[in-house]
Each structure stands twice: as C-alpha cells, then as structure tokens.
C-alpha cells in the first residue's frame, strides 16, 4: 500500500545509495539519459571510423578478407590516382550546383507557400511529399521519362529543342548526365530548405508587417528588413547541411547513372562504392572514406568558424 506522502512511495523502490555515490544523483540520471545516444554514436560512428582507419592501413580483398599490412601506402596511392582528383572535382561541381539551385528554389517556394491564401494546405502537402517520396521512386520516374523508348522528356528534348538525338539516352551522355542529375536531385531536395524556412516564416508575427505597412514601407523593404534578418540564421544552417548531404550523396547518382557514362558522374562516394564492389579493394576504399571524412571535417570547421550558424541559432531560442 502506498502511503500518503511522497517519501513512503519512494521507499518501496529498490534502494539506491545516492548519498554515498561520488557524483550527485542529478549528474548520474542526466548522464543516464544521454547514454543510449552515446552508445548508438559509438557503435555507428566512432567504431566504424576507427575501423576504417585501421583497415585503410591494410591491403584487403573484399571477398577474401586477408589483412596485409601496407602502412600508409593506400593513402599515397589515393593522392596519386587521377580518378580520385577527378571525382573530388565532380563532387564539388555537383555539391555547389545542387546547393545553389536548391537554395534559390527552396526559398522561393517557402515565400510563395507562406503568402498564398487558397489551397495552402494542399499545396504544402504536395511540396512536402516531394521530400518524403523515396529517392528510388524519383529515380524510377526519371529513368522512365528520359528513356529513349517512350520517355516523354527524351522525346520533347530531341524533337522540340534538339538537345539530344532521337535515340540517344540523355542520362547516358557525357554532356547531359551531370546537369540532369543536379536538376532531378533538386526536384526532391529543394523541399528540405522549404520546410525549414517555411517554419521560420510562419513564426514571424503579422503585426511586424502591419506596423511596417502603417509606416509606409513597400514590399521589398518589408522583405529586406523583417523577413530576411529572421531567415539568415536558418539559411546558413541549411546551406551547410545541404552541402554536406549533396557531397555525400550516393543513392540518386547510383540509381540513375551508376557513375557513368565512363566517369562523368563518379563523385567520391560512388568511387568508394565502386572500389569496394567492382575493384574488390576493401582497404583502399576505406582510405577513400577516411579522406572524405577528413575533407568534410575541415570544411565544416572552416564554415563554423566563419559564420558560426549554431551560435546564430542558439541565441535566438
């Protein structure tokens, strides 16, 4: 039977000698709450990166894992091969192109969605769906419409605009594969920026705009002085995130072109994947993965010190 006071309820539980422990009860419970996250992080991040580094010092065949110590040889090889620098360059092109298009389109969509009066909910749902649709489905539709046999965009591009030959597959041409990858990806991922900026826009109270209107401000001035300052913090964050995500993008590239034709769309993640499964060089692929991680780490630290988006965000909450 539980007593009437809080103390007697507590006494029923297993006895924990909080007073005699070296740390306070709050510290222990607090650390306990984040332990699952730490455990997941250690398992999924720390261990694999350490393992990747260890494996990158060996020569390993993917299907026949016999570890042969080679030291830093894999790294010097990574720096020497032309495909690495080529892939890095293509990855940067893909990242910068995608991020710029997504930022422009995403911001524009957020501003429009925030301002329309009729059908707002339905239109927002349609836009959000684009982000939630599995990448594979975006790829399947894209493969279908750019297929020389009955693909509507392929036919349009060939007949109306003369962009490519009537029987040519645009995704298989050196000239078009990369731009199309950027555009197809942007259809889906622009919405990421829209979601974040729209949430911010909804949080701006209407009275700010009303006050500005009374003072005779025009729409551009309102946008510049009310909307934009509210968005800068989140824009910095999403640009950072989108750049990282696009640099790491593997799925949509692999599904659409598998890095081809030739090496035309091989970025670093695709190169690493190909190295594991096509070249069967597991140790070498790990060296690429480690180098990729280091690149991102340096880029992110540089970005954080230049703009400090997290501080921007923290101060406003």
């Amino acid at each position: 039977m539980a007593g009437k006071t809080g103390e007697s309820t507590r006494a029923r539980k297993t006895y924990v000698p909080w007073e005699s422990l070296p740390a306070s009860r709050e510290t222990i419970v607090g650390i306990g709450t984040v332990l699952p996250v730490v455990a997941l992080y250690v398992l999924i991040a720390v261990v694999p990166i350490a393992f990747a580094f260890w494996a990158s010092l060996h020569d390993i065949h993917t299907l026949n894992p016999e570890w042969e110590w080679v030291g830093l040889e894999n790294y010097s090889e990574v720096m020497e091969i032309a495909t690495f620098w080529g892939s890095l360059w293509r990855g940067v092109v893909y990242m910068v192109g995608s991020t710029l298009i997504q930022l422009a389109v995403g911001l524009w969509m957020a501003i429009v969605l925030n301002r329309i009066t009729r059908g707002q909910k339905l239109l927002t749902a349609v836009v959000f769906t684009a982000y939630l649709i599995p990448t594979i489905i975006v790829s399947l539709v894209a493969l279908r419409v750019f297929d020389p046999a009955g693909g509507v965009f392929q036919a349009l591009g060939a007949e109306q605009f003369g962009l490519w030959g009537a029987t040519e597959a645009p995704l298989g041409s050196r000239e078009w594969a990369m731009p199309l990858l950027i555009l197809i990806g942007s259809w889906k991922f622009s919405v990421f920026i829209t979601i974040f900026t729209l949430a911010q826009l909804r949080a701006i109270p209407d009275r700010f705009y009303e006050a500005a209107k009374v003072c005779g401000a025009n729409r551009w001035q309102m946008f510049r002085d009310i909307t934009l300052p509210r968005l800068t913090g989140i824009i910095l964050v999403v640009v950072l995130l989108r750049s990282i995500f696009m640099f790491n993008k593997f799925d949509i590239i692999w599904q659409l072109t598998q890095g081809g034709p030739g090496d035309a769309t091989t970025t670093l993640p695709v190169l690493a994947y190909k190295t594991v499964y096509t070249d069967q060089a597991y140790g070498f692929a790990n060296a690429i993965a480690v180098v990729m991680f280091l690149f991102l780490l340096v880029a992110a630290i540089a970005y954080f010190t230049l703009f400090n988006p997290s501080e921007e965000v923290e101060t406003t909450t």
Partner: protein, 290 residues
Amino acid sequence: MSRNEPPGGVFGLSYDDESRVFEALKLLSTVIIVVVGVWPIYWMAQLAVTEYETVEDAVTVVPTPETFTLDNFSVLANPEMYTYMFNTVVVAIGTIVTVVVVSLIAGYGLARLSFPQKENFARILLIGYLFSPIVIGIPLYQIWQSIGLLGTRIGLIIALSALSMPFTVWLMWKYIMTIPEAHEEAAWVDGASRWRGFRDVVVPQCRPAIIAAALFAFALAWNDFTFAQILLPSTETTTFAPGVLRAMSQAQFLPDAHLMAISLVMTLPPLLFAYFMQSYLLKGFQVRAL
C-alpha cells in the same frame, strides 16, 4: 515618414500597382509550383494505370479507355516485391520507435538536468551530420558481418536511428526547453516522481516535436538506399529501394508500368503524412532545432 515624399512601392510603382504585380507574380509562382510538383506524381499515376505494352515504347499523356488497366497492380502480389515492402515497413516502424524513445529521453536530460560536459556533448552531436552512409557503411559492412548483424533488419534499424540522432535529439532538447518547468514542479509538489512528471507532463506536451521527429525518422528509413544496399546484401531480406534496383538489373520480367504501379503504392503513405501532419511538422521545426 514625411508627407512630401512621393508614395513609393517597388520600382516607383504606386502601392496599388505594386500589390497587383505582387499578386500576379504569386499566382504565376503557384502555377509553376503546382505543375512542377504534381507533374511527376501525376505521370507516375497515369503510367501505372496504362497497359504495360503501351508504356514500353510510346508516350501517353492520359490513359484512354482502350489502354486503361489495373492489371499493373498485380505486381504487389509478387512474393519478392511483397517481401521488400514488408521489410521497408518493419524497418521504418523500428526506426521511428527507436528514434522517438531515445531522443525524448536524451532531450529531457539535456533540457532539465545538469551534468558535466553537457555543452560539449551537444557540440559533438552536430558532427553526426558529417557521417555519410557510404563512409559509415563500408566499414560497418565488416563490423556487422563479424557480430552477425549483417543482413538483419535490426542492423539496419540501428544504423538509421544513429543517423537521425543529431537532428532529433537537438529538436527534442530545444522543444522541451520551451515547456515551462513550472508544470513539472506542480506535479512534483503533488508527489509525482521525476519519471512520472516526465511521462505525464512533458511527453504529452511534446506531441508536435514527437511527430516531427517521427516524420524525420520515417523519411530517412523510407528513403534509405545506401545503407540497405550495403548492409542487406542478400536479395531475400532487403528493403524496397535496393531490392527493386536489383530486380531491374536482373533480366527478369519487370515492365516499367509495373514499376510505376508499385512506386505509386509506396508514395501514398508519405502523401498522407504530408497532408495530415504538416502543421505538427512546421510547429516542431519552429524551435530552430539544430
């Protein structure tokens, strides 16, 4: 504002003209968004209900009575496809549950309890954004193989949950900070334990954040291709995305119209979520979680 100044909108237009131009631009933008946003979904739907022989080599815009068919959906009964979809659903649910539980507890701890290195923990959390599935997946392949998680759904759920942690933990943390602590104190005064206060006071108020985190986890799991491709190598136990790609590369009977039919079915859950949950989603994201 001085009265002598000419009343000026953008480009020296009068305010009325400015509003008219603005309305026109808004309408045009809406039309473009509708066309570009809906078009691929419409195209997928119309190909899904057209006879597959027609789809293979001709461009159709609307299904005519002659070519209309629902036979394409028979692909759902294909045992292979059925397994892929079932696995995807299991992985999505598992990821959502893990992510919500773990991030709620951690978010509560970060918001309400003080312990050493808390700020540093939050900073390290952000590094999680740098982990790309390919960088993690390649070493994880060997690690999972040696501890027997390779090819299991649990292995994939763990990997996907960890990937969504930086975002969802941060979201919960910032969201719980917006809930006044006084609510909980009132419960403590009435004799509730910290756990009771968490369960009965904090969790119900976190609904928007929970839904936002769940949607984020769902999008990640439903979308995932890279991890599943690497960590579920055998065809029988894999999820939809890698499964369908492998089925395409093997020379078996899989016409495009059937692919569109199954894609349409896979698109429906996200569409429904996006419609019914968007207000929660936007509310959850408003806390500038990152």
